[in-house]
């Protein structure tokens, strides 16, 4: 026999006390699987949101960077060196002012030395992302680069905020689905109990329960009838065997 003794399971159906165990053993896996699935759904959604937000930020910063590059390359096309771009400082300051998330913008010459830089300077912490684009003149010669550092703090704040909202929603979903599972399984077990109770009452030939299961009661009724018939037959046979009816008419 398996360890999960089926004989014991047999008892479980019949003993009302065991009904709660049946409820628990059915409700628990439903709640567990539901919680796992909800957790995985939140996990997937948060990951996707993180990536989408990152892509939106990158797209915006790339646009800013390309705009700056086009602006500065106009000067380079005229033959000016990077350090001679008179509008560079104003242009990078204007862009940095327009987006508070920008930590710094630097214009580098072809040796990588800083030619212009905004007054705010990136501290090199891990919370900044850096984007870089090369600058070339109309002859295709690389003249330098622009480097933009962007703070990830707002990104992380955004994600922390939305993650906590999703976690809260997940919690509510788990609680609601668990409550529904408990309620649903209780009703289900009650229905099973009604079936069993209908059988028991009919077998005991007692008063039927409030809402009897007619199909179950009909089966129990057949059991009673068959039993009565058998007992009567046995009784008749016994009387006939033990009586003085020599002719055997009672048989």
């Amino acid at each position: 026999m398996p360890r999960a003794d089926i004989g014991a399971a047999f008892k479980r159906v019949a003993i009302p006390m065991a009904m709660s165990r049946l409820s628990i053993s059915i409700t628990a896996p439903i709640v567990l699987v539901s919680a796992l699935a909800v957790g995985l759904t939140v996990f997937l959604n948060v990951g996707k949101l993180d990536r989408t937000l990152g892509e939106l930020e990158q797209s915006r910063l790339r646009f800013t960077l390309n705009n700056l590059r086009e602006n500065l390359e106009t000067g380079l096309d005229l033959g000016l060196p990077v350090k001679g771009l008179g509008n560079a400082q104003a242009a990078i300051d204007r862009e940095a002012r327009a987006d508070p998330g920008i930590v710094s913008i630097a214009v580098l010459d072809d040796h990588g030395a800083v030619a212009f830089r905004t007054s705010r300077v990136a501290d090199g912490s891990s919370e900044t992302v850096r984007l870089r684009t090369g600058m070339s003149n109309n002859l295709g010669v690389t003249m330098g680069a622009i480097e933009l550092a962007y703070s990830r703090r707002s990104h992380e704040r955004f994600m922390a905020d939305i993650s906590s909202q999703l976690r809260m929603a997940a919690l509510v979903a788990i609680i609601a689905s668990s409550a529904l599972a408990v309620l649903g399984i209780r009703l289900w077990v009650r229905r099973i109990r009604r079936t069993l109770s209908s059988i028991e009452h009919t077998l005991d030939q007692g008063a039927p329960p409030q809402h009897p299961d007619r199909r179950a009661a009909a089966l129990a009724e057949q059991v009673n009838r068959s039993t009565q018939d058998a007992l009567q037959e046995l009784d008749r046979a016994e009387r006939a065997i033990t009586s003085a009816d020599v002719a055997g008419t009672g048989l």
Binding site: L40, N67, A98
Partner: protein, 677 residues
């Protein structure tokens, strides 16, 4: 379904519907909420892009206006806008309007679209400080929605997987705790109602309903015992004695009294234990399917630098499949000897160790060794589960038991690669292996709790003298039809399964920039095809006696499905190949076994069917082991795209040969009859 069966079948059906709807509604509601939240929160982020764009473009337009060009006569604005839109797919439109709001320039395909679908950012165009018009930059709110909803496939897979897992667990719990006992009660009542009052040993005396039924049968049996006792008393009158005997006979004709053997229902239902256990070990093992060859290729192999990357990627898979093929015959015998629980737990622990080592030791040779050990563990678990089904079934219900076992494997084949792919994209390969190890460990613990450790029952001795394995091999080696079936159908089918599905698909799709989630999704198509179509083709084969035809058609379909890749590699064509493989195998798997039985009827009389099927399975598994390494060599020489086409050509070729052999053998009659063998 009879009224009596409805007493337990209907509540079970209602419970399953309730549980599955609950899971479905919870996850759909949460996903919809998450997507709504994402749209609400991300659209303003997209608006910042629109502001940056508007600021930049308006600056340029302002400069043009400063040169004295009227706004309505600016040259090249539409082309410039088109260029900007082309480079920024997240922008929906750019438009310039005059001071009265009339559109002067712009991408205007959206005029017919409702305004609330767009987020419009307008900035004034200034000439000497005065507004002469406005630049409108629009972003499509649906862009964010579409990006976020790219997740729907992943969420769909989470949903499908959770439903299948919930179904498996519920089946397990409900069968043991409700269906079996309830079935027993109902069956007993039906028997009593029909006059069968025999006592059943399983009845639990203390259970209220069971004890009532026991009471009834005891009372009736007691009555009959009393009657027998009185009838046994010496009776001087022979006529009277004869009449007593007639009475007893008549009662015995109407009713059944006394004791009865154990209830068959119980034995049968034990098989459900094995369903959840086989699901767990398959799930643990298949999690890495979407990325294993890619992971193997990423590891450096000191001393093996001469080997091409394709071959290196295939070795760990071959090690696993070889481990399975070679250990399975021994695993079966060992499981018979030490008991199902011990062998399952040993296998599960081996798989746990193998997967944990794979996850923790990123060394190529360790991966190969760990995969071989995992293969041995897999074989042990597989044979323990299969043996358990055999132990607890007889000829009348073995097919049903095996269907339960195979069904759980197919469910794992659907869920596991998809979940593994999603997880690999997010938590990385190593943690997926560790997760698989944890699932295998849970399987070991569960087996320890629910399986008994009976050894295999002594089976009836074969009617013919027992033959050794080598005798079986020799006899089968002379059976040309068996050889043709094995070499032209059995081995190629498994060769293509492992070479294409397990090895090449992840490699090819990775080279096509598919994510691991996508690879998992494509791979699950195989399991879905088999699960959905397998029973249908089995019925068709039985109805039309078309076993050989289905085997040939399955092989031809598999091969043909892999050839279109020659037109150019694409994920859709790989998916076509996977679907063709799934449908092809659904056609041929069950028909192959029938053909094996038919072409070896003579040998089966002497050897029994077991060794013959065992030999066929061994050949198949050796074919499976050869698949990845041969495909790896093809990849190394020709590249993955050509390798897929070559596999297709191989499948087509062997299937055509199979068709020829079986057609010729039946004198040109319909291929349907490998049957005539």
């Amino acid at each position: 379904m009879s009224d009596e069966q409805r007493l337990y079948a209907r509540p079970v059906r209602q419970l399953f519907i309730f549980a599955l709807v609950l899971l479905l509604v919870t996850q759909v509601a949460l996903s919809l909420y998450a997507w709504r939240l994402a749209e609400d929160r991300l659209v303003p982020e997209l608006g910042r892009k629109a502001q940056a764009t508007a600021r930049s473009l308006s600056g340029k337009l302002d400069r043009a206006l400063d040169y004295g060009i009227p706004l309505a006569r600016l040259e090249g604005v539409p082309d410039f806008f088109a260029d900007v839109l082309k480079q920024n797919s997240d922008l929906a439109y750019l438009r310039v309007s005059d001071s009265r709001g009339a559109t002067l320039y712009g991408s205007v395909q959206l005029d017919s679209s409702p305004d609330d679908e767009f987020l419009d950012t307008a900035v004034p165009l200034l000439l000497k400080g005065a507004s002469v018009g406005a630049l409108h930059v629009g972003v499509d709110k649906r862009y964010v929605a579409a990006r976020v909803r790219e997740l729907r496939y992943d969420i769909g897979i989470v949903l499908l997987t959770s439903l299948l897992i919930a179904f498996e667990i519920l089946w397990f719990v409900v069968t043991l705790n409700f269906t079996v006992p309830m079935r027993q009660i109902v069956a007993r009542m039906v028997r009593i109602a029909s006059g069968d009052f025999r006592q059943r040993p399983q009845a639990a005396e203390s259970a209220s309903l069971a004890s009532r039924l026991d009471g009834i049968t005891r009372r009736v049996n007691q009555g009959f015992e009393n009657l027998l006792h009185k009838a046994a008393a010496p009776q001087p009158d022979p006529q009277r004695q004869a009449r007593t005997q007639t009475t007893l006979q008549r009662l015995r004709g109407i009713y059944h009294f006394g004791e009865s053997a154990a209830d068959g229902d119980l034995t049968q239902q034990r098989v459900v234990l094995v369903r959840v256990l086989s699901f767990l070990f398959m799930f643990a093992e298949m999690l890495s399917r979407p990325f294993l060859p890619v992971y193997a290729a990423s590891l450096t192999a000191p001393g093996a630098s001469a080997l091409p990357a394709g071959l290196l990627a295939s070795l760990p898979i071959t090690a696993f499949l070889l481990g399975v093929a070679l250990s399975m015959p021994l695993a079966g015998r060992w499981s018979d000897r030490v008991g199902r629980r011990n062998s399952y737990i040993t296998g599960a622990l081996l798989v746990t160790a193998g997967l944990a080592a794979t996850g923790l030791i990123p060394v190529y040779y360790a991966l190969v060794a760990a995969r071989a050990a995992t293969g041995v563990g897999y074989a042990l678990m597989f044979m323990s589960c299969q043996g358990y089904v055999f132990d607890n079934t007889d000829n009348s219900n073995r097919a049903k038991g095996m269907a339960l076992f195979v069904g759980s494997i197919m469910v794992a084949e659907i869920c596991s690669p998809a979940v593994g792919g999603i997880l690999a994209d997010r938590i990385g390969y190593h943690l997926v292996f560790i997760f698989g190890a944890a699932v295998a460990l849970i399987a070991a613990l569960l087996a320890g709790a629910v399986l008994d450790n009976r050894r295999a029952p002594e089976r009836a001795a074969p009617t013919a003298p027992a033959s050794s394995g080598s005798t079986a091999m020799l006899r089968l080696a002379h059976n040309r039809r068996f050889l043709a079936l094995s070499i032209l159908s059995g081995i190629p089918a498994k060769f293509l399964y492992s070479g294409f599905l397990i090895f090449l698909v992840p490699l090819l799709l990775t080279s096509l920039d598919c994510t691991k989630s996508e690879i998992g999704r494509y791979t699950m198509l195989y399991g879905l095809s088999c699960l959905a179509l397998g029973p249908l083709f089995a019925r068709l084969a039985d109805r039309y006696n078309a076993y050989a035809a289905l085997v040939a058609a399955g092989g031809l379909l598999t091969g043909a499905g892999m050839l279109p890749i020659l037109q150019g590699a694409s994920a859709d064509l790989v998916m076509l190949g996977v679907a063709a493989l799934g449908i092809g195998q659904a056609m041929s798997i069950s028909a192959q076994l029938v053909l094996v039985a038919r072409v070896t009827q003579a040998e089966a009389q002497d050897l029994g069917t077991g060794p013959i099927v065992g030999m066929f399975r061994l050949l198949e598994r050796l074919g499976a082991a050869a698949g990845p390494i041969a495909t790896g060599a093809l990849v190394a020489h020709f590249g993955p795209q050509q390798a897929m086409a070559a596999l297709g050509a191989f499948g087509l070729g062997t299937s055509l040969l199979f068709l020829l052999v079986f057609r010729n053998r039946t004198g040109g009659a319909a291929v349907a009859e490998g049957a005539q063998a």
